[in-house]
């Protein structure tokens, strides 16, 4: 779960990491008011979950009120890589002489977090990692001990941060690790840490992604989750408790188990179709959950055809069939053709219950997907 820059910066500031003076604004008038307080130059930064906002036109530096009004008007409401900008962060401009990168993420291979520092900040750190890996100093963190102060120093000196800033930057790194743990972060980074012309060290950007599996013990962050959805469908999936990812195709996909649903998407693609979504109803789903899943997929206006692929382990075929019947029987006309494939636990019982007037039934995964792809292509024509 991604936090917005302003949310992450609030958390950073509360922990004592210096951030520029800033104010959140949702309208042009609020932006003008904010720059009035903050002064010039000021930055106006789109608050959307998109990397490379700057290049995409989501950030503007303004030097007077007219420019602020103009840029606010341009950015608020704009579409940034599929996300609509509803809020901007108005922030004091920083006159900087250098930019560093500091961040912490989970190294899956090592099974432990890793702290990273680079003096090549302000650019895409993945590119730095590829082109000049030595420019990023790394320290693996033993999660039982946490980040030792000496490790923070070692990373900072190892990255070549000049002595006069080393103490502050390593202090920021140590604080970042505390926040990483306290907030169950998956990633946390500042890119760039700016060195100002006054020799101050300041977090000019803030990225924080939260481990969704830990939201149960992060009530404040869970509150922020509602701001993190890209659109109404994602929000709906969140409310229903589905693992859902929206894609750009027209074949709606529902299944149980991440691997099997991914495989269903892949087969749609393999047989020439375009998946509209990933939707995993999870293990042991009851009829109502199945109905909710169909509601989700039907709500996506891009969907022309649906494939329902269940291999029952804990999930029972009869429950799934009941759910499909319930959902479809509520329609006067089935909105999109639905292909159903049921296998595994109670599949036979499910097939007996299933109202085959309302759905098309196939015996294998491959056949079901091919039929759904065909249905979609027929609608397109």
């Amino acid at each position: 779960m991604k936090l917005h820059e302003y949310q992450a910066k609030n958390i950073f500031a509360d922990a004592g990491i210096p951030v520029p003076e800033s104010q959140l604004a949702g309208s042009v008038e609020e932006v003008v008011e904010a720059v009035g307080k903050i002064g010039f130059p000021a930055a106006i930064k789109a608050q959307v979950h998109v990397g490379g906002r700057g290049k995409a036109g989501g950030i503007a530096i303004v030097s007077d009120a007219d420019e602020a009004r103009e840029e606010a008007d341009r950015i608020l409401g704009m579409d940034l890589k599929g996300y609509t900008v509803n809020e901007v962060l108005v922030e004091a401009g920083v006159d900087f002489v250098d930019e560093y990168y500091v961040g912490i993420t989970m190294d899956r291979g090592a099974g432990k977090p890793v702290a990273m520092v680079s003096t090549k900040g302000g650019v895409n750190i993945e590119e730095v990692a590829e082109e000049d890996p030595d420019a990023i100093a790394q320290e693996h963190i033993d999660p039982a001990f946490g980040l030792h102060p000496y490790q923070a120093r070692k990373a900072v000196y190892g990255a070549g941060v000049p002595k006069e800033y080393a103490r502050e930057v390593s202090g920021i790194l140590s604080t970042l690790y505390e926040l990483y743990v306290e907030n169950d972060a998956a990633d946390i980074e500042i890119n760039p840490v700016m060195i100002t012309s006054d020799d101050d060290v300041i977090a000019a950007d803030a990225v924080m992604n939260i481990d969704e599996d830990a939201l149960f013990r992060q009530p404040k962050l869970a509150e922020m989750e509602k701001d993190s959805y890209q659109d109404d469908l994602e929000r709906k999936a969140g409310e229903y408790g589905f693992d859902y990812v929206r894609l750009s195709g027209n074949v709606g996909i529902i299944g149980n188990g991440a691997g099997l649903v991914m495989t269903t998407l892949d087969l749609v693609d393999y047989y020439g179709g375009k998946p509209a979504n990933f939707l995993d109803i999870g293990g042991g789903a009851k009829a109502s959950r199945v109905a909710n899943a169909l509601d989700m997929v039907f709500s996506d206006e891009n969907v022309d055809s649906v494939v329902f692929n269940i291999f029952g382990g804990i999930t029972r075929g009869d429950e799934v069939a009941k759910g499909i019947n319930e959902a479809l029987e509520s329609f006067d006309e089935i909105p999109k053709p639905v292909v159903v494939r049921l296998a595994g636990t109670n599949a036979k019982e499910g097939m007996e219950i299933l109202n085959t007037d309302l759905v098309q039934v196939e015996g294998t995964l491959e056949e079901a997907v091919q039929r759904a792809v065909k249905n979609a292509s027929e609608v397109e024509q």
Binding site: R108, E212, V245, G283
Partner: protein, 289 residues
Amino acid sequence: MSTFVDNDTKVVVQGITGGEGKFHTQQMIEYGTNVVAGAVPGKGGQEVEGVPVYDTVDEAVKEEDANASVVFVPPAFAGDAIFEALDTDLDLVVAITEGIPTQDMAKVNKRLSEVDTRLLGPNCPGIITPGEAKLGILPGNIFEAGNVGLVSRSGTLTYQVVSNLTERGIGQTTAIGIGGDPIIGTSFVDALDAFENDDETDAVVMCGEIGGEDEEQAARFIAENMDTPVAGFIAGRTAPPGKRMGHAGAIVSGSGTGTAESKVNALNDAGVPVGDTPEEVADAIEDFL
């Protein structure tokens, strides 16, 4: 020979009094698994499906001589339950629970390096040696004893591939679910190594998916260390970067690591045929035998 579990495995079920724990205990016993105890704090002295329940895993192990546990404890408490299991010198701990916070698992991972116990999962369907024992939630009826080993990050995908095999009359030595989380106990390499050393396993199916670099490591291991032929499948070819595809571990990073393409290429380079469909995986295995 079987891998990791067999007739002699004596199982304690952690969380046996919960809905899932109870149901699958019954299923495991029905399959023939030797479930000797349950462990739930505060429920010591009860019985579930004829199995005695203890307050601690330690007591269950001491009283009933268990050598393996299956964890059905909810995510908030599962990390602690795994630590508890790792404190009792078991041979195997199978963590079914999905949704354990990753930082909890990083700590478990550290603890794993200090003990001799093997962890399967978490977020895995468990392990089955057909005809002998199953530990977990896999539907026993689709498996058949035979000579193919299977290792997978995904539950239902495993069932799909197994049914493709079983329908052709190809049985399995052991099927191992290693789990869909970013940090797991047993890796592909560990499982492949066990299959390579199992005389009865003549071929292996490996079902990977996007995220991480376990499949790439497995490919290197296969190329360097395995004589037993392996066929592969990789789920998530159509997954967009930066999106978690159900499994916490199934995510292509924004910088493009963990892609299906990288994994398929690595396996192909190691001489492993990778099926475009589950049926093609079964075809490849049939060719091997």
